[in-house]
């Protein structure tokens, strides 16, 4: 089985978010970058499927040279080969187009990614890639079992879940509990150094949006503490101050 896993290179979930250059650029100062947590689930499941069925896992990132350590980490986790499309991921359409063009070059049975990135939280690249390739797409996928040419998947719907049967190939936006995150071991880290990481240039520069300016939310006011023996006071505040009940 041949699996393409698309990963984002995003700030660690504990990062303080700040901007520079008059709020037009993300401030990378002191920020640790990671594989997007949802993408990390997709990658873990891809590696499991390869271990069970044989085949190859290719990881793909659209990003500048600074994302290579993140791709190396994916290789250490168990991907066999990495591709970096050498471009700043300027909007979701642009990224989807690069992914679709890379996917056309290989015969992939599955194209997996996270349900959304944790920087822009758009959650729309899987659908775009599916449409560009004329393949079905599903999200958020929380179970993925493959048998021959068909897959059993479970997708989350609001307030529940749904099981589906689908034919390969398709695109899936993944989330937990599709697999457990994998932590690279020493052997993985050593072998990742020599696995191929191919850099390709973007095929198309179309983008449909432009970033004008970032903003931070207004800081939160101080918390009002209420005595545990005086829950009536909380009820009073919710009713008369916050006016939410």
């Amino acid at each position: 089985m041949n699996i393409l896993v698309c990963i984002t290179h995003v700030p660690d979930t504990t990062s303080r978010i700040a901007f520079t250059e008059n709020n037009t650029k993300f401030d990378k100062n002191g920020v640790q970058f990671i594989i997007g947590p949802y993408d990390d689930y997709a990658l873990a499941r891809a590696v499991e499927l390869k271990e069970a069925n044989g085949g190859k896992v290719t990881v793909l990132n659209v990003g500048e040279a600074e994302t290579e350590p993140t791709l190396r980490k994916a290789l250490a986790i168990g991907a066999d080969e990495a591709i970096r499309v050498n471009a700043f991921p300027s909007d979701s359409y642009f990224v989807a187009k690069q992914i679709a063009d890379v996917a056309k070059q290989g015969e992939y049975d599955l194209i997996l990614m996270g349900r959304e990135s944790i920087d822009f939280n758009g959650g729309m690249v899987h659908g775009m890639v599916g449409e560009m390739l004329g393949l079905p797409s599903f999200s958020p996928v929380m179970v993925l079992e493959v048998e021959g040419n068909t897959a059993k998947i479970t997708r989350e719907i609001e307030g529940g879940k749904e099981k589906l049967e689908v034919n390969l190939p398709f695109v899936a936006g993944c989330q937990e509990p599709i697999a457990e995150w994998k932590i690279p071991n020493m052997r993985g880290i050593m072998s990742a150094r020599t696995k191929p990481l191919n850099v390709v240039e973007p095929t198309d520069n179309t983008k449909l949006t432009e970033i004008a300016q970032y903003e931070l939310p207004a800081p939160k006011g101080a918390v009002k503490m209420i005595d545990a023996d005086n829950v009536e006071e909380l009820v009073n505040l919710l009713k008369n101050e916050a006016k939410v009940i």
Partner: protein, 317 residues
Amino acid sequence: MSVLVFIETEDGKIKKSSREAISYGAAIGEVTAIALGSVSNEELASAGVNGATKVLHAADEKLNAGLIQPYTEVIAKAFESTGAEVLVTAKSSLADAVVGRVSVKLGAALASNVSELPKTDSGFVVKQSIYTGKAFVNTTLTTDKKILAIKKNAIELKTDGAAASVEAFDVALDDALFGAKITSSEKAEGDVLLPEADIVVSGGRGLKGPENWGIIEDLAKTLGAATGCSKPVSDMDWRPHHEHVGQTGVKVSPSLYIAVGISGAIQHLAGVNSSKYIVVINKDEEAPFFKAADYGIVGDAFEVLPKLNEALKKALA
């Protein structure tokens, strides 16, 4: 401006978030809405209250389940046949899965998590919530056709419109679009949907076990609230996964979020930071959640919650 709004329904009712999307559409132009699958004419006409002039109804029963490719086809056809310039939808997992495809089909720029009305004095600029609620970005959509997915609970509902007219909208759908077969579906019946809820009561590891969730559910019932939980709680299967709130779970933006026995890890806060008011109940006065709260009680959940529930019942009676 001609606007098409995609309406999602739940148990035969238009979702609140779709009503917010209609209200958003009505604030920027003339709204035609599109609804798919079985739903009554009367319910659809009520979209007018929120500002829709007309509702197109693709009533084919095959569309009762939210199948991504058929939905893409119907929505794109409706967009073209109404000559719409903007497609507006609530941000939801179904909309996410569908509108990315629609955007490619139409060549329309797409902005997700939109939290305010657009600014149109120079170009078409929308404010989007990003970094899981930790920041915003103002984005210019540069194409003529545009798609906006609206953050839930961010837009004030318009409620003073008249009934909308309802028209059948028939689209010939190729069988190939129905390649995915739904084999089973599991759904909590009658509960308030977490992503839509106006009030959420959420429990963490501090509740010690699934058998103790009664106090959370009682409080939720009193408030007409949805129940949520922290990630370890759903990881341990104390609660179903769709209740998991946070960075890797559901992002909520209710008017009131009540967190009980949750420490307030940054990844949990990421899912709740756009709540209007946050109440934290935790026995540890050092719990980081208090820093993100509006109101806090230091105390044992097993003692505080029943008392709070009684006091609320009295106040709401």
